[in-house]
């Protein structure tokens, strides 16, 4: 289709996509190719990178393989990023859709509800949620989802608000379509593009958020993640800067590629930005 074509022509977006694709592949199959737990203490601690060909990226404070950590960490960072975004979408889209479609008091109630979540400083709320429900992948993913859905709801509401008076929606009403059908089949597909763009950026910020939580000591202790690696390495940053540097770069690259992809999607899906045409 048009979008895919214009996306594939966008070099920057393709770079982002390729990097992301590689990371996803690593996350999916890496652990099978790379046997052994990332927690195993395999060498002397603080082995610098590129010194031992078996442990290419060196070892950490306890002599664990950094590369193994990176590979396993890709899995969790991406998982948390994607799952929390999906949850946020699952909360935000219906909420925004109902508010925008029905308007009136439904809108008022739902938007007040959203406003509450937007008023509480979101990073602080995430910290509190994770601390209260005790750090685990579930609580972290949940907390990230809870603080990131309001923008989705607002966006979807806005889209629905403007699309609901579009003539094709009116036509569907005249056809005697049910509201459910109109929401799901007429309006939603047409509001997807900004949602997709937002979602790609949300995955990026979810990954950042996860790492920030880990940095503050609120990561899941049982699971190797990039954020954990930085958090664990922060105390030894002076003697082994690479331990925080390497996963930091991994995060930055992932987030960057997601942003590039998101930007590409935005241009592809939103002709106002890319084209010079009036229509």
């Amino acid at each position: 289709m048009n979008v895919i074509k214009s996306l594939t022509q966008n070099k920057v977006a393709m770079v982002g996509f390729s990097i992301l694709f590689i990371f996803v592949v690593i996350a999916l199959i890496g652990p099978y190719l790379y046997d052994g737990s990332p927690w195993r203490m395999v060498q002397r601690p603080f082995l610098p990178p590129f010194q031992n060909s078996n442990y290419l990226l060196g070892t950490d404070t306890l002599g664990r393989d950094v590369l193994a950590g990176l590979i396993y960490g890709a899995r969790i960072s991406l998982l948390v990023g994607f799952v929390s975004t999906i949850i946020a979408l699952l909360i935000g889209i219906p909420l925004g859709a109902y508010a925008g479609y029905y308007g009136g008091w439904v809108d008022e109630v739902l938007m007040r509800f959203t406003e509450i979540f937007q008023t509480v400083p979101s990073f602080a709320l995430a910290v509190v949620l994770v601390a209260i429900f005790e750090p685990s992948v579930y609580s972290i993913t949940g907390a990230i989802a809870i603080v990131s859905w309001p923008p989705v709801a607002r966006l979807v509401r806005g889209e629905f608000l403007s699309l609901r008076s579009q003539e094709y929606v009116l036509a569907a009403k005249l056809n005697g379509q049910t509201n459910r059908n109109i929401i799901l089949r007429e309006i939603l597909p047409n509001s997807l593009s900004p949602i997709i763009v937002l979602a790609s950026l949300m995955v990026a910020s979810a990954i950042l958020l996860e790492s920030s939580l880990s940095f503050l000591g609120l990561g899941d202790p049982a699971i190797m993640s990039w954020g954990y690696m930085i958090g664990a390495a922060k105390t030894v940053i002076r003697q082994a800067w690479w331990l925080s540097f390497i996963p930091g770069v991994a995060i930055a690259i992932t987030v960057l590629s997601l942003n590039l992809l998101g930007e590409g999607l935005n241009e592809a899906l939103n002709p106002k930005l890319s084209g010079n045409r009036e229509n």
Binding site: N175, P189, N276
Partner: protein, 550 residues
């Protein structure tokens, strides 16, 4: 006389992936001092591009390929930017189509106009102020002192266009380029603006290049006419010659598509009783912006509206923008809930039925929408769009798609269209799909709200023909909402004239047009541009003109 401006062999290349290779190609014409040259042609024919080239305002990606635009000894097409800048707004100025968006929303009117003096002259602040005030008076704006302080959003469309004109004429330029300056305005406003431009043009002996697609406007103001088609200038001549004796086929086709301002004689059929649709004392009031702190804006969009509609008849609903035409038509099809009044569809009251009870009536009254782009869901195939209605009413999928295929044939679209998406069709074709969708329910009443306003004249004519044919064939009752009185005169059996939510006049079309009773109707008819042109010829239909496949 020496021409003020000479356009010689001008060609402008479009970037790769554009509609065609050249936006305009080998265009030649002169502009004489003090004349009004009208440039006409359908959308995309390159009218704006010509104007932009003269102004030096072409988008960066678009380049002048060859040719020259000679003004005052300079070639505008190749002039350095800083030199061109001194001419722009000073010797040559321009007015744009959209008065709503052409002014900076964050700047007061005074500042926007005074900016011209600031850039090109050394006037003091006081002088600028005085000149601006004088200009506003010149263009006939009421209460100019207040206007100075106003922001664009506080003005009506016509007022904004006057501000634009004031701005353009501030330094008494030799050339004024007007790119469809009245298209977005109501007829009465349009008439005033046209009059104003003409007056000012006479007063200052300005040469005007007036871009329009409305032949009525051409007839009203042009000295000479240039016709453009797909980037080429196909005809150039005196107004009367071009209008009454067109040479080029394209010009002929265009002119033929313009409905004459004469209602054809119709056999006045006795109206069937009872009417299929009757509306009694319909009222609808909008309240916006109100909260417990601020006063709401209250608009009576439909105020005690009553009329009847019969099978086989086309009832026109005319009136200026905001008069309540759409409101009435939406209430009738129950897209809007009316505040009070009765709506009867073949005797049954439908104004207060709930979603469930309404379902059986839905299919009996259908609507064709204005915007052929916005009225089709871009994510659905044409087949789905047409079949959705019957499916929602309980028809099996297969049958519904079979029906969709039939309907496509009925509206003269290829059967292959069924699997394609809306964006693959032209505006006219889309409007056909919209009609097919409405007909999928076998309705008895068809409401068409400005169903042709967004289309080019030639395409308009085709759609009008189609509706007329279908009406006869299916014995439909059509409520036809339109603001173009020429169109109304052509297609309607009876017309209703609305003003500020009220019906001010209702009657047989011919009678209303020939001897309007209400003052408002009179002023409407008087405002129709080029009223004298083709007021006596009979209707020429443009049937047989096929649209190119998309």
């Amino acid at each position: 006389m020496k021409p003020l401006l000479k356009v010689e062999n001008l060609s402008i290349r479009l970037p790769a992936g554009g509609d065609r290779e050249f936006a305009i190609r080998n265009v030649n014409y002169d502009l004489m001092p003090g004349e009004i040259l009208c440039v006409v042609g359908e959308s995309g024919s390159g009218k704006s591009m010509t104007a932009n080239a003269i102004m030096g305002l072409l988008p960066k990606v678009i380049t002048v390929d060859k040719g020259a635009v000679i003004f005052d000894g300079y070639d505008l097409a190749s002039l350095e930017e800083h030199r061109a800048r001194t001419l722009r707004g000073n010797r040559i100025s321009m007015i744009f189509q959209e008065p709503m968006t052409a002014l900076n929303p964050l700047m007061r009117v005074e500042d926007q106009i005074a900016e011209v003096f600031l850039v090109h002259t050394k006037m003091t602040r006081k002088q600028r102020h005085d000149r601006t005030l004088a200009l506003l008076e010149d263009v006939g704006l009421p209460d100019p002192h207040k206007m100075l302080r106003a922001y664009p959003h506080q003005l009506s469309g016509g007022q904004r266009q006057r501000v634009m004109i004031a701005m353009a004429l501030a330094l008494e330029p030799s050339i004024l380029i007007a790119d469809e300056p009245t298209t977005a305005l109501d007829v009465t406003t349009q008439a005033q603006i046209l009059k104003l431009i003409k007056e000012l043009q006479r007063k200052h002996n300005t040469a005007v290049m007036f871009i329009t697609h409305d032949f009525g406007v051409v007839a009203e103001i042009a000295d000479r006419v240039a016709v453009m088609e797909k980037g080429e200038m196909v005809e150039l001549g005196n107004r009367d010659a071009v209008l009454n004796n067109p040479q080029h086929d394209y010009t002929k086709k265009l002119i033929a598509a313009v409905p004459p301002l004469v209602s054809p004689k119709r056999e006045i059929k006795p109206l069937q009783v009872p009417p299929i649709l009757s509306v009694e004392n319909l009222c609808k009031t909008y309240r916006t912006g109100g909260s417990w702190l601020s006063k709401a804006r209250i608009v009576k969009a439909a105020d005690d509206v009553s009329f009847e509609l019969h099978r086989g008849e086309t009832l026109g609903l005319v009136g200026e923008s905001g008069s309540g035409k759409s409101t009435v038509s939406r209430c009738v099809v129950r897209l809007l809930n009316s505040d009070s009044g009765k709506i009867r569809l073949s005797g049954s009251e439908i104004q207060s039925l709930g979603t469930k009870e309404l379902a059986p009536f839905r299919k009996r009254i259908q609507m064709v929408f204005q915007d052929p782009y916005a009225s089709l869901n871009p994510r659905k195939t044409i087949g789905q769009i047409i079949a959705d209605g019957p499916i929602a009413q309980g028809m099996p999928r297969k049958d519904a798609f079979a029906k969709a295929a039939e309907l496509l044939a009925l509206v003269e679209l290829p059967i292959a269209a069924i699997d394609r998406y809306p964006h693959e069709f032209s505006g006219g074709q889309r409007q056909r799909v919209g009609i097919a969708r409405a007909l999928a329910h076998d309705p008895e009443v068809l409401v068409a709200d400005e169903a042709i306003s967004a289309l080019d004249v030639s395409v308009q004519a085709q759609i009008l023909d189609l509706i007329e044919t279908l009406k006869k064939r299916l014995n439909l009752a059509v409520l036809f909402v339109v603001h173009d009185l020429r169109v109304a005169a052509q297609v309607c059996d009876r017309v209703i004239v609305m003003q500020k939510g009220k019906i001010v006049e209702m009657g047989d079309t011919r009678q209303v047009f020939e001897s309007p009773a209400h003052d408002y109707t009179k002023s409407l008819i008087a405002s129709i541009p080029g009223a004298n042109w083709r007021s006596d010829t009979t209707a020429v239909t443009a049937s047989g003109v096929q649209e190119g496949a998309a």
